[in-house]
Assembly symmetry: D2
Homo-oligomer: 300 residues x 4
């Protein structure tokens, strides 16, 4: 069939550039060969992908099917040679997008996937926990790709303020940690950086899990359940504390990363005492965080 011309290439009727044109919510399985991870459980990640390019002012439409072709190619390559990480998949997609859309100046990709990982309860039993992996890429023609790697993890926070209030009201004196309200917390940490920097999602999961009052677990027998409650109340934390603990771990751990790495950390508590949520967020470059950290010593 000889189709005449693409409506998308039509010119003359338009005058405004578009920042992002593409497809959202494409579901794709991506084979990923992570080191040291149970390959049976995470050999293939079920991804939800958003993929965009910009559009010049004088062209009617973007060729959306080319975006899906880029997705298909990268996924098929991953089946032959497992990808080294979703952030590298996103980066590859960005580069291919600028090839396939010869008129585009920028490309953006966002990937989300579920991820299982083995964990140990406080008393040492094995459990399998679920996390979300977040990855992305962004490029302007002529520049290098900036890629994003991050995780979303669920944990538990106990409130320091209510704990102190209860202690004052009931006249408790030290010893055993006192009751407080505690709740499910969702914490996200994301790094955006140059394409050639290697990071592991598992490291970020460890950092985020270490920032809760306690991690949470699918399977808790009575003694483990009691220990999780004790642990959480021994280390009560606001959403603010969760974000700051993640920031502290990042500044402490990543000496090798350059100042221009962009960091986003957010924590949301599904409050047990309210019908709404509590929220805290920090966005900064690693350089800005390092400067704040250095200033810290001066203040004290």
């Amino acid at each position: 069939m000889g189709l005449k011309y693409d409506v998308q290439y039509k010119r003359g009727d338009t005058w405004s550039k578009l920042t992002k044109v593409g497809v959202t919510g494409v579901r794709k399985p991506v084979a990923v060969g992570r080191k040291g991870v149970n390959s049976t459980l995470n050999g293939v990640l079920n991804c939800s992908i958003d993929i965009f390019v910009d559009l010049p002012a004088d062209q009617k439409g973007s060729h959306l099917s080319r975006n899906v072709e880029v997705l298909r190619d990268v996924v098929e390559e991953s089946v032959k040679t497992p990808a080294t990480g979703l952030e590298n998949v996103a980066s590859d997609m960005c580069k291919k997008l600028l090839v396939h859309h010869e008129y585009a100046q920028t490309a953006d990709v966002v990937i989300r996937a579920e991820y299982f990982r083995e964990s140990k309860t406080p008393l040492g039993r094995n459990t399998l926990e679920i996390y979300k992996l977040l990855a992305g890429g962004s490029v302007a023609r002529g520049s290098g790709v900036r890629k994003t790697i991050g995780v979303e993890a669920i944990g538990m926070t106990a409130c320091p303020c209510a704990q102190q209030t209860v202690s004052e009201v009931l006249g408790c004196a030290g010893g055993i940690p006192i009751m407080s309200h505690n709740q499910r917390n969702v914490c996200t940490a994301m790094f955006t950086m140059d394409d050639d920097i290697e990071m592991e999602a598992d490291e970020i999961i460890d950092i985020v899990q270490g920032a809760f009052s306690s991690p949470t677990y699918e399977l808790l027998k009575r003694d483990d359940e009691g220990q999780v409650v004790i642990n959480a109340h021994t280390d009560p934390r606001f959403v603010e504390d969760v974000v700051r603990k993640v920031l502290e771990s990042i500044v402490g751990k990543y000496d090798r990363l350059p100042d221009n790495v962009e960091i986003l950390v957010k924590s949301e508590s599904e409050e047990s005492i309210h019908k709404h949520n509590a929220f805290a967020e920090r966005t900064a470059t690693l350089g800005e965080l390092r400067e704040e950290y250095r200033n810290r010593t001066l203040i004290r």
Copy 2:
């Protein structure tokens, strides 16, 4: 314009009845004149409505626009004369559906709406809390309408099992209630009954709120926050306990309701120590519940 015939009435190609055909997710404002409630805040309820009839085996389609006409008529009437409750709105819709769909033998309506109500914190401050109203109707041609009235409320549960385990582990002796995990709980209670029975959603809200370890509040200053935590830990409850407390209140309060009232009560805790939820549910007629209650005395 003289359109010929409705494709929907076409006959001869089909052989299977359909149980429900209709529209879902229609958004409509319904004016409701509840007694004793702040009419500024709840004079109009924003409803999401699902509305269905059945379809005989030999007719191609149902006239879906007639469903939306029924919705429009009932809503317009409510603006002139405020409805006496969403369950009566649903019942009215059911009756009209069988008139407009002359081929239908059954009609079903489901309505959900947000609802604000003033409340008092433990220390007596005013707050405004949000609930969901649930209503419905169901009718078979030749029979009376059965209507549903219910609520969904959010509260807090503290776990009795973890509280006891912590007490044993730490060797606490009585006195002050001990810490436990606690979390946001969503509890639903619904009554399905004959059309001429009157009930108030506010009563059901009171019953459900009384079944949590503690209600929750939008606005809590420090002393109130501490009191909510103390209250919840003084009355720890499983999801099972929440459902049973609602059932107990229903059996205790509604002597005037007949045995054939159908009850559904469910409670779901968004666990703070797990990434998943805990759930309990009871479905029964009021007659069945009464019999279980009578047997209770015999057991003890």
Copy 3:
């Protein structure tokens, strides 16, 4: 640590049975060895699982951690010996639940998972499409397990009524199919049956896909896109038609299934001309459907 007794076993304070007590939204990877399916893509299914037992009137609580232990055991077994289908996983879980909860009389399991499958576009290009697998089990102590197998698939419907109206308004005479509104449709088909009946989810996907005006595809180049549009408008269908086509395929294909198989088929169109959805559903036993089908010949 010697913990004293389980609060859950406490007796004497309660009088009402509970229909379902358990956990919802547990995420687990399950290794499934489906025949003839790309094992790289679907060797492990990411499942969301709800799992319940009932609770007798005189016992305070259900041991929820036992539910999660059942999940863990079945998942670990699947890693060693891939399961033969999610419905068999659900059935296994039901049996184990009654062993672990010695006080329970019933057990219920619901599983949902994403599933990828290769498909061909109208012009023969390969694509990879996403579906949802639905599975479940239900058992009463002393009876056999009833298990559920089903799928949710997304396709496209074009409206027969609008097509005819447009034809009348514009005075079109036959030949080329005329424009209509068309939209995304989500169709679900589920079979509930005795434990020893074998079925394949892929068969049900084929049945559901054949009931749309056209299947849909991730990747469509221009000629394929045009063909999908032509195909859909050549075979316009109401939500009612989608459900009935699935029912017809089931009655035609499954001579080997007994009359007591329960069928649920539903179709929901995210209408392009409305802000709400259109919906049709049939629930029936296979025996009831067969009787309606036999009566069909008599009517005509």
Copy 4:
């Protein structure tokens, strides 16, 4: 009760600023006195509100209950004197936040609400349609508030590319518009600007509705349904076209607005031929758009 001190004010342990700390998903009814709108239906808007301030590096926590107090006060004022628009409510909240949080340097508010409006079908019948109102505010201490006003509306798009392909494949010659795929589209337009600029949400709804291939309607009898289909296929539009038509209307209509007004327009089509969505977005200042518009004449 004399509580000692707020944990939130604790100093010395922290070193990192937080960008946003607050509460999300607070539900509040706000009385709004819009001009010329049916006050029965929209006299009170059910709002979902997110409200944040920043937090200095050396302070442990933000007083979240003060955020909820600000919400309560503004809502209570609205009951006495109806607000002139949600964007002014958001702006008020921002100013009060900086008063109540004496340590904060910035404040941010986001409000979403459902909104009903009467509309006319193509053949002149009355319908009632639902929209989402979007509003917000943002302020840095010492600067004026920037406020946001916007809407989200649902309409219909028919695809120009598939329409042309079908025309070529079937060899159609002009006359009647040819079939294409069409689908539900969600389009958002938002203006961020200085506090003293007045705009009406109804105007923005008109602009967005005018950018679809056709608006959609709750209630369409057959002749109106046919006309909507004909209208949509007479004016096929990509997601790109929808965004650009909104931008064109904005540049054409708002001579009175200054160059520093920030514009965000996005359009997402829930594709009928795919399982994923198509998406287009433009972010720009009004000044940038005006310059692109002026350059348009030069190009042609």
